[in-house]
């Protein structure tokens, strides 16, 4: 009797466990099977996954910012909002311009009034530096770094953000649940929650433009050529030339994100 009871118990336990696993896992197993059959989107960011069919261009894009040229006109910020329907509210930006002012003591003051969308020329914006012995001052424009190793893609619980073969991080707006984990994970403050769509948004390097052979809007309107875009593999491109002829740095290299936005003349104070 005891033996049968024990064997029943064992059987019951097996059945219970089996039922629990099968039941609880049913729907997501289905999901897994789908992911294996349908789109290799989970694997999109893994280098080993061959995803040739959705890579019409064999490009790997890069962006160069020449901080020695930027004049802080803010045309790039305004153009980005225009081109990509980014909310006008200065708290939501796919790109922005920062100004660094360094005084005699080496203290750095940083500002970005309205994300730089109206430039930096207006009087109140400059008056705060009147009593400061300025040693040097310069502008740095910022945008999504389209990291090779993107923390935002890593943390997205539903895989709504992904990296394309040509190296651009995009957000699937029909899938994002708006948990904002990616916003926390981005070390560069490049992401925000779109207040209208309630999904994460970020710079796409104007994916609709670059895939038509055009420059991103910010590059298009920059009057001084401080922003460059292209494929470094093409030796005649502006970015290839800039990367060849200059000492280059990236933002926060210590985090291992491997940004694809490269900076010329980056000061140590820029973070």
């Amino acid at each position: 009797m005891g033996i049968t009871r024990r064997s029943f118990l064992r059987r019951a336990a097996v059945v219970l466990a089996g039922v629990a696993a099968a039941g609880a896992g049913w729907s997501y197993l289905k999901g897994l099977a789908q992911s294996a059959n349908e789109a290799p989107d989970q694997a999109a960011s893994l280098p080993s996954a061959p995803v040739q069919q959705r890579t019409p261009q064999p490009h790997h894009w890069a962006f160069v910012v020449d901080t020695t040229k930027c004049i802080g006109c803010g045309k790039c910020v305004a153009a980005c909002k225009e081109e990509n329907n980014v909310p006008e509210d200065p708290h939501f930006n796919r790109t922005w311009v920062e100004r660094y002012v360094i005084d005699e003591q080496g203290e750095a003051y940083v500002d970005s009034p309205d994300a730089g969308v109206h430039g930096f020329e207006s009087w109140p914006v400059n008056s705060k530096y009147q009593n400061i012995q300025v040693v040097k001052s310069f502008f740095v424009s910022k945008l999504c770094n389209q990291c090779e190793n993107p923390p935002c893609v890593q943390v997205c619980p539903v895989g709504a953000t992904y990296k394309t073969e040509d190296g651009v991080i995009l957000v699937n707006r029909s899938r994002c649940i708006g948990c904002r984990y990616c916003i926390q994970a981005c070390p560069y403050g490049a992401r925000f929650l779109d207040p209208n769509l309630r999904v994460a948004d970020k710079c796409t390097w104007c994916y609709h433009r670059i895939s038509k052979g055009m420059d991103p809007a910010c590059v298009e309107v920059c009057p001084v050529g401080a922003r460059m875009f292209g494929d470094p593999a093409d030796p005649d491109s502006a970015v290839a030339k800039a990367l060849r002829e200059n000492r280059i740095s990236v933002l926060k290299p210590n985090l291992g994100t491997r940004p694809q936005v490269f900076y010329i003349g980056l000061d140590q104070e820029v973070r």
Binding site: R5, L9, A13, A20, A24, S27, Y28, G31, S35, Q42, P90, H91, F92, N93, W96, E98, A108, Y109, V110, D111, S112, D114, A115, K142, P151, V153, Q154, V155, C156, P157, V158, G159, A160, R175, C176, I177, G178, C179, R180, Y181, I183, Q184, A185, C186, P187, Y188, G189, A190, R191, F192, L193, R198, V199, A200, N254, L255, G256, R271
Partner: protein, 407 residues
């Protein structure tokens, strides 16, 4: 705002609801550990609380996803996290752990209360009878043999549940600890700090709930149970304080790039809520009081219980401050490490104080409902079933641990 913050950082991405969420899951994990101390490890002094703590854990775990859901930008897509998960995301795995854990709690609770369900279905009439009959799931055998089998399954679940509870809350810590962009979050100690603080908060919650519930029922209080809980609370508090101290100490000593801003965060922005509430009121003072109680036996039972109640309340506030200091504190400074912003939750509306209070009160209402539907106190359950012979062995397994087998 002072200094410089990235323009997109003006909005605080995670507000009061995300403070509430680790707070509630922490209480779940802690309450479950108390129930398992009896069910799995046979701590007899906690037997009066075992069923009640199980119901508490169930009530809180059912509410745990609510603040998350309310926070989502697109709550109608919440199920995507189960259906199309990205397994490289800490958050995706967390959904399954919570789901698994909820299932485990439901099964364990059903087994623990099965006899009472059967009894009530037999005693009641009409709708009530139909309700309890449905709850039996067609299993009406409450013979000694069947109950013994139930107890064994309960024990297995209680044991399996402990690592699950640890996983549940360690994982919440990992959500924060794995964010390398944030120097205040990014530490491998974070999961274990969350875990220990979860147990601390759960034990403290049960001290409070047990004393309040007993007073409401006008029943005599089992002081030795409270004393036992207070002992466990002291132990976990000591570990918790050690870990939290170690975290800040190692950050300060390593003095990396981020420490400049974190040290300002602690001494300026979080001075009151970190040093004042979390450390002093929420940990050091309770440790002094509970330590004193542990060292002396001079004070009377009522005084000891009252002091334990007071410290438990302090600890509950302190752990809430700890969740605030992590979740909100980590967003008060810019990831440019150059400036601070302020955060105050709105009083009403989305992510507001009122919304948070409503959500925080939900598990208590749910617990009250459970206590009406299922008898959480063993003695009353026994009285209720006066007509039915009391089985000689209710929970046989713990006795095997603590002494010779009862059979």
């Amino acid at each position: 705002m002072n200094g410089f913050i990235y323009p997109n950082e003006a909005e605080t991405a995670w507000g009061l609801l995300i403070v509430l969420y680790p707070y509630i899951t922490g209480l779940v994990a802690g309450a479950f550990v108390v129930s398992s101390l009896y069910h799995a490890f046979g701590i007899e002094k906690l037997r009066p609380l075992a069923r009640f703590s199980l119901l508490t854990a169930l009530a809180f775990v059912l509410i745990a996803p609510v603040p998350l859901l309310a926070h989502l930008g697109r709550p109608e897509r919440a199920f995507e996290i189960f259906i199309t998960p990205n397994f490289r995301s800490a958050m995706a795995g967390f959904g399954y752990i919570l789901l698994f854990y909820t299932g485990l709690l439901v099964v364990e609770t059903w087994l623990a209360f099965r006899r009472d369900i059967v009894r009530r279905s037999e005693a009641a009439t009409g709708l009530r009878r139909a309700f309890y009959s449905a709850l039996t799931l067609g299993s009406r055998d409450v013979s000694e043999r069947a109950l013994r089998l139930d107890a064994k399954v309960i024990r297995v679940l209680a044991i399996v549940g402990i690592p699950s509870a640890f996983l549940l809350h360690g994982y919440v810590g990992f959500l924060f600890g794995s964010i390398k962009a944030n120097p205040w979050w990014s530490t491998p100690l974070m999961p274990i700090i969350f875990l220990i603080s979860a147990i601390v908060s759960g034990v403290a919650l049960l001290i409070v709930l047990y004393i309040v519930a007993t007073a409401l029922r006008r029943q005599p209080l089992n002081h030795s149970s409270v004393a036992e809980l207070a002992k466990w609370l002291l132990l976990f508090l000591l570990v918790d304080l050690t870990l939290e101290g170690l975290e800040v100490l190692s950050m300060a000593y390593e003095n990396e790039e981020g420490w400049a801003i974190v040290s300002q965060l602690l001494t300026q922005k979080l001075a009151v809520s970190f040093f004042g509430i979390q450390i002093l009121l929420g940990a050091i003072l309770p440790i002094v009081v509970l330590g004193g109680l542990a060292l002396t036996d001079r004070l009377g039972q009522r005084v000891r219980t009252t002091l334990s109640l007071g410290t438990a309340l302090l600890v509950l506030v302190g752990i809430f401050a700890m969740r605030w200091n992590v979740v909100i504190g980590g967003q008060l400074f810019s990831k440019s490490l150059r400036g601070f912003k302020s955060f105050a939750p709105p009083l009403t509306g989305n992510e507001s104080v009122v919304e948070a209070l409503i959500i925080l009160s939900l598990p208590f209402f749910l617990l009250a409902l459970f206590a009406v539907l299922l008898p959480p106190w063993e003695k009353e359950a026994a009285l209720e079933g006066a007509g039915v012979p009391e089985p000689t062995v209710t929970i046989p397994i713990p006795s095997r641990l603590v002494g010779p087998r009862a059979r």
